[in-house]
Symmetry: C2
Subunit: 313 residues, 2 copies
């Protein structure tokens, strides 16, 4: 293992870049804008230029650099081929080869949700576990599966697409993917807001949520904390539905731990504790005790995880 | 890789043993009774004696034998420790070490459902796939997960316990495991018989099933084949519920293929075709095309898979 590595988290607005010691210490992180013009054709050159600049600035020896890890918002095949990163305008090409040629360094790429899971497994809430599932609760609901310390990609890059677990086949509303009754329609920021609006519209019940100019996920959790009965029920349903999904995941791959991350996980123990309570009741008996923990790296998970891709070079 | 290997499938009534070429050809198979007296304490010595006998009979050189693979009806930890095989009377001990000492050959052990999955992946319906899920539809519903050609055990030996996926939380009847609404309560031989009895008891509908002295899973599939409307609905529900479970499995590990095995899979294309039809509708879009195939090794899957455990020695 060489001394340094770069971890790059490519988002639709900014690219986050970190310089790490390969022992797992983030030395420095910075951001550059994601240039979407030219079908995202400048992005890799911008990343390469930024890394070249940092190497020069720090006077790093190329021989001391393990490589560059890259998390991208879309499926990545085992050989480094990206298959349409819609948010970046990218089509199908080998992102590892292309960036590697620009920098003369080894490059490894992965899907951003998977890479964040690897980051939490390496240096975050899942540290110490070789087998875990990260549940990312943000606008949507995503996930990443780590087995034996490595990302499970799946035959179509869809391993860990836990937001599309089927919870209620009779759900009339449509999931973002076009099908019905998926976990993401209940256990995500969008999901809880949707259910809050439904609950307010379908009854005359009093709730602090009625006074808000706009209902957000954060506001629902906040109101629940302050004892608002309707908000409490919504949070409770959220945790219950998520726990059913997690119990099902355990029946498939039986991880050592679940790590709850994403914006919604800022609700902290209120979320984790309730999910754990339902999970303990719902899970297959031998998996009832699976650890459920919160992510700790926040938006740096992608940088750590991207560098973590270089550990198995 | 050495030339020969033994595959042993330990059941509650008989032990099936096979002598294989490690290229994957079954040369010979035979059975010995499973002696349950003395808390199953004679079983390993009986297996060792039978293998010694075959080695002598065939004049095999010990140096030409890769080892002995063993499938057992219970959880097996990565180090070869079995944790209570209730049907055999076994407690907790290292089955690999104990059999290895008797034979002076390497021994590798695995759970029987996992081992059957490995057998189908190596030489059966899943040949050619490195990543598959075997769905075993027998009295109950079990499964085995193969990733990169290797069994996934899970942190508590519960990976592939797909019979306990939660399908209907409002199910009043209890699963064998003590919880409610699990896949096995619908998609298994016991499950379809239970639902058939419910359907007959709760209506006056005509059905050929009413004339049977005893309702069996086979009889329900047979009646459905002959156009019995009630039986057709039961088979349809079976396939639908199973397909929901498989769509959920795909969202977790996204296998290349599903292999349907176990006694119920003798229904053949009637089962496979309908499951596939529902799966294509229900699965997350990128996984809609996952191969769904029938197991081909029947009761020899365990022998093949047990020998397959020796491939990674």
């Amino acid at each position: 293992m060489k001394q340094y590595g770069f971890g790059v988290d490519v988002g639709g607005t900014t690219v986050k870049i970190g310089l790490l010691e390969m022992t797992g210490t983030l030395l420095e992180s910075w951001e550059i804008p994601t240039r979407l013009e030219n079908s995202g054709g400048f992005i890799l050159e911008d990343i390469a230029a930024s890394i070249r600049g940092k190497i020069a600035e720090k006077n790093l020896e190329i021989g001391d650099i393990q490589g560059v890890g890259l998390g991208v918002p879309g499926p990545v095949l085992a050989d480094g081929t990206v298959c349409k990163c819609i948010n970046l305008g990218w089509g199908v090409f080998n992102v590892e080869r292309e960036l590697s040629e620009k920098l003369s360094l080894p490059v490894r790429a992965g899907n951003d949700a998977d890479v964040a899971a690897l980051g939490e497994q390496w240096r975050g809430g899942g540290a110490g576990y070789q087998n875990l599932v990260m549940v990312t609760l943000g606008t949507g609901c995503g996930g990443g599966i780590i087995l034996n310390g490595r990302i499970v990609h799946g035959a179509h890059g869809a391993a860990g697409e836990i937001g599309h677990l089927i919870m209620r086949e009779d759900e009339p509303e449509t999931c973002g993917c076009g099908k019905h009754g998926h976990l993401e329609q209940y256990a995500s920021a969008t999901g809880i807001v949707r259910l809050a609006r439904q609950a307010l519209d379908s009854s005359e019940r009093e709730s602090a949520l009625r006074d808000l100019p706009e209902i957000t996920c954060e506001a629902v959790f906040q109101a629940a904390k302050q004892g608002d009965a309707l908000a409490e029920e919504l949070v409770d349903d959220f945790c219950h539905t998520l726990a059913v999904g997690m119990a099902d995941i355990a029946n498939v791959i039986d991880p050592e731990a679940f790590v709850l991350g994403g914006g919604v996980s800022k609700a902290g123990e209120m979320l984790r504790g309730r999910v754990e309570e339902y999970y303990r009741k719902l899970a297959f008996h031998v998996c009832e005790g699976t650890t459920i923990t919160l992510a700790t790296l926040g938006s740096d998970a992608g940088i750590y995880g991207a560098a973590g891709l270089l550990l198995n070079l």
